[in-house]
């Protein structure tokens, strides 16, 4: 089975609860992702805990795309 990335997304600089979801690819700095009706840019990705089986556990920090510009 291909790797599965379980990602904790946290939005920096605002009172946004963030999200947890599985992805088939690892997020990268500069990626733009959509949470609800808003777009966010990934500014940091770190390994949260060691991988287990096919699962990789990541934390990604986001900023709203309009703030980045």
């Amino acid at each position: 089975m291909p790797a599965i990335y379980k990602v904790s997304y946290v939005v920096s600089g605002e009172d946004h609860p963030g999200a947890i979801l599985n992805s088939e690819t690892s997020p990268q700095q500069g990626d733009v992702i959509s949470l609800g009706s808003s777009d966010f840019e990934v500014i940091e990705v770190i390994d949260l805990i060691p991988p287990r089986g096919d699962f990789h556990y990541l934390h990604a920090t986001l900023v709203r795309t309009s703030e980045k510009a």
């Binding site: 379980k6 904790s8 609860p17 999200a19 947890i20 979801l21 599985n22 096919d54 934390h59």
Partner: protein
């Protein structure tokens, strides 16, 4: 409907055998919600565990003060589970969960069916309980980052 393949990509079942996945698939029911539909209600009794197949759910928690409005604490997307605390401690729902996408597709497993599978197969029971603990730990770590 056979959900074996999709269950294999859910962390809750990481480490169980294909035969065990097949048994779990047999007790799953697929359900679809519209955006905004309430799936579980805080403080009510709950007897089902849910897996997000497609879309997002919004997890909301109300404080003890009556005037305090519910606060969204996290969004859960593909592959995530909720309702697992009812399986672990048989307590009331700790949060309200509502669909946050159209459609939101879930798998639902009744806790009694799940516990029966775990009782009959201790390997399955050990792996699933370990994975539930790991998932609760991951959610706590997410909260720690979100509260920074």
């Amino acid at each position: 409907m056979d959900h074996t393949e999709i269950l294999g990509s859910v962390e809750l079942f990481e480490g169980i055998t294909p035969a065990e996945l097949q048994a779990i698939s047999g007790i799953c029911k697929e359900i679809t919600f519209k955006n905004g539909d309430v799936i579980t209600q805080q403080d009510e009794t709950g007897e089902d565990l849910y897996i997000v197949l497609d879309g997002f759910v919004e997890v909301l928690h109300s404080g003890t003060a009556p005037e305090q409005s519910p606060r969204t604490i996290v969004h859960l997307g593909k592959g995530q589970i909720f309702g697992e605390m009812a399986l672990v401690d048989h307590g009331p729902r700790s949060a309200t969960v509502r669909a946050a996408s159209a459609p939101t597709k879930l798998l639902m497993i009744h806790c009694n069916d799940f516990e029966q599978e775990c009782e009959e197969n201790h390997h399955l029971g050990y792996i699933v309980m370990r994975n539930i603990a790991a998932d609760l730990s991951f959610k706590l770590r997410h909260r720690h980052f979100a509260d920074r």
